[in-house]
Amino acid sequence: MTAIHDLSRYVRGGNLPAGLVPLSGYDMDAIEQHVLAVHADARRLHADAAQPVSWTGALWERWLSGGKHADSKVNPRLLEGARVMLRARSLKQRAQVHADSGTTLPSAALRMTILGPDIVQPFQSAADILDTIPRRGVQGDQLGYRRRFVIPGSGGGVTVLRGDQTLTNTVEVAWQEEFRPLHWAGIGVTRGWMEQRLAAAAGVPVEAYKQTALDRAFTEFYRDLRLNGISGLDVLSMADNPALLRINSSVVLGTANIQTVYAEIVRVCTLAAEISPADMGPNTIILTDRIMNRLLGTTSLPTQGITARDEFLKTLQEVGITKIVKGKSLRNFGGSNIDGMALLRLGGDDGMAAVQGFDAAPVYTYQGPQGEVTIVACSFGDLEQPVGDGSLIALFEVTPW
């Protein structure tokens, strides 16, 4: 089970939500120095011996020794984070390592405020959201970044471009920038002591188990961040990005007849293409398996031998959708049994992107009262949408199978 602990977001001070405590004397420069020092130290220790004493050490020696850096089996994020992994036998040794590096580590008794509930690990891939929405890198140790968006050239206010322009044939676009905060966060991955014992007793390779747990924590954290944001932080997500229009459909998929279902879904898709006054409409559709399943197996018209789904795919081409992604991330996005279907513009300079600063990297592991806790640091920004026209999320009630 994992929880999100606010570790370093407010290190630099600034406005703090109630209940959060700044970690005094532990600033961003120190984190960076620590990271570099640990990297150098780990390299030195690795060269000395090949005796794993902790899962991080085992991982380091197993995957990163002797030229296996390019091993594709290691998740790229972990490979990146492995640069800062600690090889530590005991708290005393860790303290010595850090003392040698000249930086100060937070103590195991540091007070952290939990920002969100435990991340329950569902057995589903986030590939539909995380792999489809491209990332835009910004400098990870900054306080903020410049969010790009397009405003109409007709002199309208500084808002994201929407479909209610009075210009009918042409639209001029101009880039604008807005300074947005870049957030630092620490993710605490807690492996309960009972979990640890059970895994060891069952013969599960502990290193692989822990690596998988960490990887799952990354995936779930980023997926939830991009879908719902984090309460209390000013970070835009699919749930509140003002560039996304939200449509609440009254058609119940699974109850209405297939003609109605098909007509409604097509109506939403054509709306997305239609409301853009320029050729900047969506090019990607992300929908759930349940929505797609309601279009399967039934002829759309009794006179034709093709299914509603086939008709739907042809219609998508007509409105400029070139990529169809089916997944489970938008299930229950609008509530219980209310699935989402997102039409987004992705790619290029004007497409949606997830702003990523410092990539998630394990920084510190300690044995806490509830189990072993690995603190992972990362920094991130908004779900950026330079051009808003036509991008939307449609919510459909879906009857269970």
Binding site: L236, P242, L245, R246, N248, V251, A263, G334, G335, E397
Partner: protein, 108 residues
Amino acid sequence: MVMVQNLGKQREIFDGGLDEEGVRQTMQIDPQGIGVVPEWAASLPVVHRAVERGRIKVVAGTLPEAKAPRVEVAAPAPAPSTLADVVTALRALPAEQRALLAAELLQG
């Protein structure tokens, strides 16, 4: 009279299905917008759901009981499936086309 406010940052469109004359009706609320809700919209299940989820707040009046709107579109007429149906469909063609068809068929 029911007044609501959109508490979110996204413009929301609520689909109201078809009215008695078969015309599509929708309601749109801008981010943070406040406005009077038409009668047909106040009873929409999607509006009730948005209020329950906290995306919309009722600032005046109370929502009536939820009632699902009419959404079904008419199904197309079934295709002819027997010879009798085919003949019936052909007989419904204009006289000129029937004559042409007959000439074609007789030609073999």
